[in-house]
């Protein structure tokens, strides 16, 4: 009989105990996962622990959540490659472009067809280098953006842990470290953003020079594929309109003249030799998948 009040009390307290128990379980699971390096699962478990509103668990869960998110940011940055190398390659591409512009200017002054064609080819190569550099930079910027997002959240978590438990000096230190890391990353981001702008300016200059040089090349010596490459170079490839798509599928109604056939033969050969990619150099052969018409680039002749 004496046990009845105790049983009633325990029954009444059971929801509160269950919440505490759940929060602790989630916290323990999160810490275990963090130890194993399973960051995604650790994050999910620790978020549940922090959200359970158990005052004893919440600051610790937030503290560990800060760790998880910092490491997630680090993992993301592993894919960015060597920073100095990235900056150097951009500078090199810009130097090549400068050189191409300079030689293009000289060729235009000399008005010598051979020099113009050579300068035009250099400009094309420079443009390609700049495009590679731009792609690499934008990829890195994407990674940095994601890492920054994680690290900012991490700093927020450490600050929150400190706010809930003012004695947690580790959280304070960690928040400072993360903020410092964020600052460094922002500096680098600014650096590559500036460089990216310069690369864009340089690309515009090269493009202009290419246009000028192209204007000097006789029509019968020009390759239509150059136009396509210029189009490919534009950052935002415009989605063809429905009508245009239809046209592409049907093919244009131009006929291939003997001159054009000869020119095509020549240029295709030249393209493989002078501007061949690594794959082509190694004897690239398209697979069945790549041979499908829908995968083909360029026009139907």
């Amino acid at each position: 009989m004496k046990l009845r009040p105790l049983a009633i009390l325990m029954l009444a307290a059971s929801p509160a105990l269950a919440v505490t128990h759940g929060a602790r379980e989630f916290y323990n699971e999160g810490v275990t996962r963090l130890g194993k390096g399973e960051l995604r699962d650790a994050e999910m478990a620790l978020r549940k622990a922090a959200g359970a509103d158990v005052e004893s668990v919440q600051p610790l869960a937030l503290y560990n959540l800060g760790h998880v998110r910092f490491r997630q940011g680090e993992e993301m940055l592993k894919g960015e490659g060597n920073r100095q190398q990235l900056l150097d390659s951009s500078v090199a591409a810009m130097n090549v472009a400068e050189e191409a512009i300079r030689s293009g200017g000289h060729a235009l002054e000399s008005d010598e067809l051979k020099a113009i064609i050579a300068a035009y080819m250099d400009a094309r190569a420079a443009q390609k280098d700049l495009r590679i550099s731009r792609d690499e930079t934008s990829r890195t910027l994407g990674l940095i953006g994601s890492a920054l997002e994680r690290w900012r959240r991490s700093a927020g978590d450490f600050h929150s842990a400190l706010e809930l438990d003012a004695t947690n000096t580790d959280a304070k230190t960690n928040a400072e470290v993360v903020e410092q890391k964020i600052e460094e990353l922002l500096k680098f981001k600014k650096q590559i953003e500036q460089q990216s702008e310069q690369v864009s300016e340089e690309r515009e200059k090269v493009k202009d020079m290419k246009k000028k040089l192209r204007g000097k090349i006789p029509k019968d010596m020009q390759r239509e594929s150059d136009d396509e490459e210029d189009d490919d170079d534009d950052e935002e490839k415009k989605e063809p309109q429905i009508g245009e798509k239809q046209k592409q599928r049907l093919g244009s109604d131009r006929e291939v003249s003997p001159d054009m056939a000869r020119w095509l033969k020549e240029t295709m050969k030249r393209r493989t030799m002078s501007l061949g990619t690594q794959q082509e150099g190694e004897g690239f052969r398209p697979t069945e998948e790549q041979r499908r018409p829908s995968q083909r680039k360029g026009r139907d002749w």
């Binding site: 922090a50 700093a155 927020g156 929150s160 706010e163 809930l164």
Partner: protein, 258 residues
């Protein structure tokens, strides 16, 4: 002549300065001294003249002084809406409706505001809906009258030595029934006291009650949510669609402040 004139001007200036000093001192007192009726009238005039911010000021002062009424809240809601503070407008209308659930104008305004903000009315349980039939205070009065009237009818005849009559028991039973019927309404009223209104747009609901906590979801001005817990400067609220999280008390107000 010139000298005298200057002296007179100088004295006049002194007197004006002293007067203006006293006027400045008296100004807040005279403002504070304005009666609720005067404030209400001022607010109505300001509203009619298109000076909505002044109307808001007057009505707020009036309400904060404890002189609130359904009409004052309704007008405050209108003025707040006009100055673009939609969350505050919904709060004022909700307060007006809790004092006078029969007001068609307030109900229409709330419906319009919610439609405009694309926000649904809060989902109420049956006892909460039942409690909205009458103002909260009325239920207490009716329940008290039912209980104590029933008790009185059963005990007083014995105590006073009156002859027992059947109608005593009949009326007592009816009063107890009324008291019992008030029970769910009182419970519903208490449950509705947990409701509050989001005051600003894009208010974050956070994972933890901290300044830099992770944002789980954002809620819009005028949305209603139920307060489940309270800690420091934060409420833990649950809005429709099971969206829950911690919100700063500055961004959220209970319809019936504690």
């Amino acid at each position: 002549m010139k000298m005298t004139q200057q002296t007179i001007e100088g004295r006049a200036r002194e007197v004006a300065a002293v007067l203006s000093f006293f006027l400045v001192l008296l100004a807040p007192q005279s403002r504070a001294a304005s009666t609720p009726d005067e404030r209400f009238k001022k607010a109505s005039e300001a509203y009619a003249a298109g000076e909505f911010a002044d109307a808001v000021y007057e009505l707020r002062e009036m309400v904060n002084e404890g002189n609130f009424s359904a009409a004052a809240f309704h007008n405050l809601g209108d003025a707040e809406w006009k100055v673009g503070r939609h969350g505050h407008a919904v709060l004022a209308w909700e307060r007006a409706l809790s004092l006078d659930p029969f007001s068609k104008n307030t109900t229409a305004n709330l419906r319009f505001a919610r439609h405009n903000a694309r926000v649904d009315a809060p989902q109420l349980a049956w006892h909460e809906r039942y409690s909205t039939a009458l103002p909260g205070g009325w239920w207490i009065v009716i329940a008290s009258a039912g209980l104590w009237g029933g008790v009185a009818l059963l005990t007083l005849p014995r105590l006073l030595g009156w002859r027992r009559a059947d109608w005593h028991q009949g009326v007592a039973a009816a009063l107890f029934a009324i008291f019992l019927l008030c029970g769910p309404a009182l419970f519903g009223t208490w449950k509705r006291s947990q409701f509050g209104v989001v005051l600003e747009d894009d208010v974050p609901l956070r994972l933890t009650p901290t300044r830099e906590a992770e944002t789980l979801v954002k809620v819009t001005a005028g949305e209603m949510a139920r307060v489940e817990r309270e800690r420091g400067e934060y409420f833990y609220v649950r809005a429709d669609g099971d969206r829950a999280g911690w919100v700063r008390k500055a961004d959220f107000a209970l319809v019936w402040p504690r």
